[in-house]
């Protein structure tokens, strides 16, 4: 009876709208689902929409950061969308660094960012 977060594919990208307060198992399952879906669909970018998330603790923060790094290793880019001010404040105070993770204010800017990131990568070659 485990919850599962849906992953949408829109053109070349995956969109992951997180709409519930995930327990640790659900979060870790989501990480696996995203990576599997990248492999299956050959999506070059992932947008994780956290705009309605009310809390990110060190466990969820780590899952998000790890997912980005793992996706990078597979050749895909990850952008975190719409982090609320209260969560940004709490994460910085907690001392958690989401180093190297891309962020954007909304889905549109996130898609724009992914487009540019991927063009750039194709121009320079390699990830």
């Amino acid at each position: 009876m485990e919850l599962r977060i849906p992953i949408l594919k829109i053109q070349d990208y995956l969109i992951v709208p997180i709409q519930i307060d995930m327990d640790d198992a659900t979060a870790s399952r989501l990480q696996q689902d995203i990576l599997t879906k990248i492999e299956m669909t050959e999506a070059s970018g992932v947008l994780i929409d956290i705009s309605v998330m009310e809390m990110v603790d060190s466990y969820l923060g780590r899952i998000l950061g790890d997912t980005a790094r793992m996706a990078n290793l597979m050749g895909a880019e990850v952008v975190l969308i719409g982090m609320q001010p209260a969560i940004a404040i709490t994460l910085v105070e907690l001392g958690l660094r989401l180093e190297g993770i891309y962020t954007a204010l909304n889905i549109d800017q996130g898609i724009q960012l992914l487009d540019n990131l991927i063009t750039q990568k194709e121009e320079n070659g390699g990830s």
């Binding site: 307060d21 198992a25 009310e54 060190s58 609320q84 709490t90 907690l94």
Partner: protein
């Protein structure tokens, strides 16, 4: 001091129930959004520690007041293995397992008050408080 709720931590899902309950209480006590988030996050860290290291325990949520100030006090109690070296455990980045070692120091930074007592073989008790501005 008014007891608002007591929550048993026995399985992983209880971490979520517990942090949601604390958020709800914080909202009712009219903490601002940032403080609600700080309280919820600290609770999540400490409730997870109970589940991870002691297997089970109890979280008590209380409303308190002092010098006209209203506050929310949360106590995390377990009869688990206890913590050998509190200084070490409170240090940023220290974890006996594969954690990030941010739970204890993080919860301390997010809350206004933090106290911990722990006895090897007997258990751990952590009390945190947030005052309303």
């Amino acid at each position: 001091m008014t007891l608002i709720e007591e929550i048993k931590i026995q399985e992983e899902k209880d971490i979520v129930l517990c942090r949601r309950a604390c958020r709800e209480v914080a909202r009712q006590l009219q903490f601002n959004l940032v403080d609600q988030t700080r309280i919820t996050t600290a609770t999540s860290e400490l409730a997870r520690n109970i589940f991870e290291y002691a297997g089970e325990g109890i979280v008590r949520i209380e409303k308190i007041s002092k010098n006209m100030k209203q506050g929310l006090q949360i106590t995390f109690m377990d009869e688990g293995p206890g913590i050998k070296d509190l200084n070490e455990a409170m240090g940023e980045g220290w974890s006996s397992h594969r954690g990030m070692g941010m739970g204890l120091p993080g919860a301390r930074k997010l809350m206004d008050e933090f106290s911990i007592t722990s006895t090897l073989g007997e258990g751990t008790r952590i009390t945190v408080t947030k005052w309303r501005r």
